[in-house]
């Protein structure tokens, strides 16, 4: 039903760009050739845009294999005249890149596990379990949602110092272990699925925790994957919190360490291949994650497709 009908009308979609919309409206029957060229133009625009979005990353990868001089002088070319791995070598021999990566991984894994667990528990409690103060707590989470992140820089530093957690892994990880947004997503999800299976387990005499663990969580996989992706990506890419939560170089994450490379605090201000190599390497885990869950990312954020 929908396959042929929209094809004809959507052809003139792009036509207005050429300023000929009114004429086409009147003589839709006769615009076969024009519609065709319209489609072509539409593709050209999209391909051009896609190039603009992708090309910067391609030249960055290429740049990371160039010599310092070549990268500075001919940044546009995709193929290095002389391919060198010097930047990558230097990252692993002279810069503590491996240490930063290890710290980033440790933090991201802990934060992800914590959020998946705590956010789903809280979301479940807010959606299903009846206890006094539930409505108020939910309202408080909604209010917390609107607290802007950068406003927390100073407060986070203050509390970590007060608690003696400043400059420790604990201070880097614990504050990130749960987010209001995650709790909200999980609550919405539990609201949307039927209670009947849980009720069955309840009648069979399973306790709340048992029910949560072996009945509810497996059913919540789609939402948990969303939390998983958001948490890993978020904590891997996090910069602000790690700036204010630590100062020792041994606790540098990739974001902090590489940011120092760029701003020249580690004496590498103008070595573009080195910076580009760092940018390429630090992006790999999130890019891999993105491609694994691509379908899901495009759809969960985009809601269920019709049909």
């Amino acid at each position: 039903m929908t396959t042929t009908a929209p094809e004809v009308p959507s052809a003139p979609d792009r036509e207005p760009a050429t300023g000929r919309a009114p004429r086409i409206l009147k003589r839709r029957k006769r615009v076969g050739a024009k519609a065709r060229s319209g489609i072509l133009l539409g593709y050209l625009i999209l391909i051009g845009l896609a190039l603009i979005y992708i090309y910067p990353f391609l030249i960055s990868i290429a740049g990371s294999f160039k010599t310092d001089a070549e990268a500075t002088q001919s940044g546009l070319s995709l193929i290095p005249e002389t391919i060198t791995f010097a930047a990558y070598e230097r990252l692993f021999t002279r810069e503590p890149f491996a240490l930063w990566a290890g710290n980033s991984m440790l933090v991201a894994v802990c934060v992800t596990i914590g959020r998946v667990l705590f956010d789903s528990m809280a979301g479940y409690a807010l959606s299903r379990l009846r206890f006094r103060g539930r409505t108020i707590i939910f309202a408080a989470f909604i209010a917390v949602l609107s607290v802007p992140g950068v406003v927390l820089l100073i407060p986070r530093f203050l509390i970590l110092s007060e608690l003696g957690l400043y400059d420790t892994y604990g201070g880097m990880i614990i504050p990130l272990l749960s987010t209001a947004a995650g709790v909200f997503i999980m609550k919405q999800f539990f609201d949307s699925i039927s209670e009947s299976i849980e009720e069955a387990a309840k009648i069979d005499g399973a306790g709340t925790f048992r029910r949560f663990w072996s009945v509810v969580l497996p059913m919540a996989t789609p939402a948990l994957v969303t939390i998983f992706i958001l948490s890993f990506q978020g904590s891997w890419n996090e910069l602000g919190h790690f700036i204010v939560a630590r100062q020792s170089p041994e606790l540098n994450t990739l974001t902090v360490g590489v940011a120092q490379l760029v701003s020249g605090q580690l004496g590498a201000g103008n070595q573009y291949p080195l910076q580009l190599a760092a940018a390429v390497l630090m992006s790999i885990p999130v890019v891999v994650l993105f491609f694994i869950f691509q379908r899901r990312i495009m759809n969960t954020t985009a809601g269920a497709e019709k049909g």
């Binding site: 845009l49 989470f141 009720e199």
Partner: protein, 366 residues
């Protein structure tokens, strides 16, 4: 469906819900404790710091820290100090940033979403991936890429040179765009009317500087990275509209423009509101990019200024004061925008329209 409902009826005291409240508190405890200890209490602590003369030494709660009232707030807003000028500059920079980023990223995201939503488009998956891709990686990596692209001898200037234009030394160029434009018309310096008065220690002439060339790079960066995310939001909404309404509009003889402005756009209103609000909130929080680039007057933003004032200059009270001004400002903006968007179209009309189009659709499908 109805049977389990019935068993759930007897709420309290019944055997089946025994211990539920305790489980509820247990389940919600971790999230509540983390939010309280690392969000609410710290914000209260920072509010105290913004009213105190704490200098970063020992705990802000120790006895030698004094209450100074609104002194810190006055120092950045009303007194003629360096801090005030920095704050004014940061606000101005961010204001131009917001004015350009929010409309452009929203329009671009909507444009991309409409394009990749077309049923006839081949390679839709590829295009969606391409446009979303910049949103995946960290701001640190993106800044590195942009810094490289916008070098004096970088890719962008090479492209410009191919068209015979000479590009500026982007990130090191602190001239305001509007000042450059005025200069082209011969107005190089401030007319006295604009030079004398001012706000937040910045003369009116400097308020009219426009975004600096360096800031323009960050504006492009923001549009580049966020348009893909917002495209997905629009895409979801477009898919919910479905093709039936499109067809119905076609039957009624609506052209593509008419269809977009009279049907698609009104139906996207809730999403449009979400995107504008998220964009507005996000663009007043520019921090990462500035930090990676090492700060500098031409790209200073309130978010970065509050960090620098506290952590580098150790003026903790003033830094916290900036944070709270920013906090209140962002919240007010959110509420204001929500209110404005609500007022414009009365609910009744919206519903009526939606109902009408629904009828139209069903008729059309049959």
């Amino acid at each position: 469906m109805s049977a389990p409902r019935a068993t759930a009826r007897p709420r309290r005291g019944g055997g089946i819900r025994r211990g539920e409240a305790r489980a509820g508190y247990l389940f919600i405890a971790p999230a509540v404790i983390i939010a309280a200890v690392f969000l609410l209490i710290p914000i209260a602590l920072a509010f105290w710091v913004s009213l105190s003369d704490w200098n970063g030494f020992q705990s802000p709660l120790n006895e030698r820290v004094n209450f100074v009232g609104a002194d810190n707030y006055a120092a950045i807003t009303t007194e003629d100090t360096l801090q005030q000028r920095n704050f004014g500059r940061a606000v101005r920079n961010n204001l131009y940033y917001v004015l350009l980023v929010v409309p452009l990223q929203t329009a671009l995201a909507l444009f991309l979403a409409v394009q990749v939503n077309r049923a006839v488009l081949r390679g839709r998956g590829f295009f969606r991936t391409a446009f979303y891709f910049p949103s995946v990686t960290s701001s640190v990596a993106i800044v590195i890429v942009f810094q490289f692209l916008f070098l004096g001898t970088g890719a962008i200037n090479q492209i410009l040179a191919a068209f015979g234009a000479q590009g500026p030394n982007w990130l090191n160029d602190s001239r305001g765009l509007l000042h450059i434009l005025f200069g082209a018309f011969g107005a190089d310096s401030a007319p006295s009317a604009l030079a004398d008065g001012g706000m937040l220690g910045i003369s009116w002439w400097d308020w009219l500087a426009g975004p600096s060339v360096a800031m323009t790079v960050l504006i492009i960066l923001a549009i580049f990275t966020t348009s893909g995310t917002f495209m997905l939001l629009f895409l979801a909404a477009l898919q919910n509209i479905g093709s039936e309404i499109d067809e119905a509009a076609l039957m009624d003889g609506a052209g593509p423009w008419r269809k977009f402005f009279s049907i698609t756009l009104p139906m996207l209103r809730p999403t449009l509101f979400t995107v504008l609000t998220l964009g507005l909130i996000g663009s007043w929080q520019v921090f990462d990019q500035i930090y990676v680039l090492g700060g500098g007057a031409s790209i200073l933003t309130p978010a970065y200024l509050l960090y620098e004032t506290s952590f580098n200059e150790l003026q903790w009270g003033q830094g916290a004061a900036i944070a709270f001004i920013l906090f209140v400002f962002i919240i007010v903006l959110t509420l204001l925008q929500r209110w404005i968007l609500r007022e414009r179209s009365p609910k009744k009309r919206g519903y009526a329209q939606r109902a009408a189009s629904r009828n139209l659709t069903e008729g059309g499908v049959r």
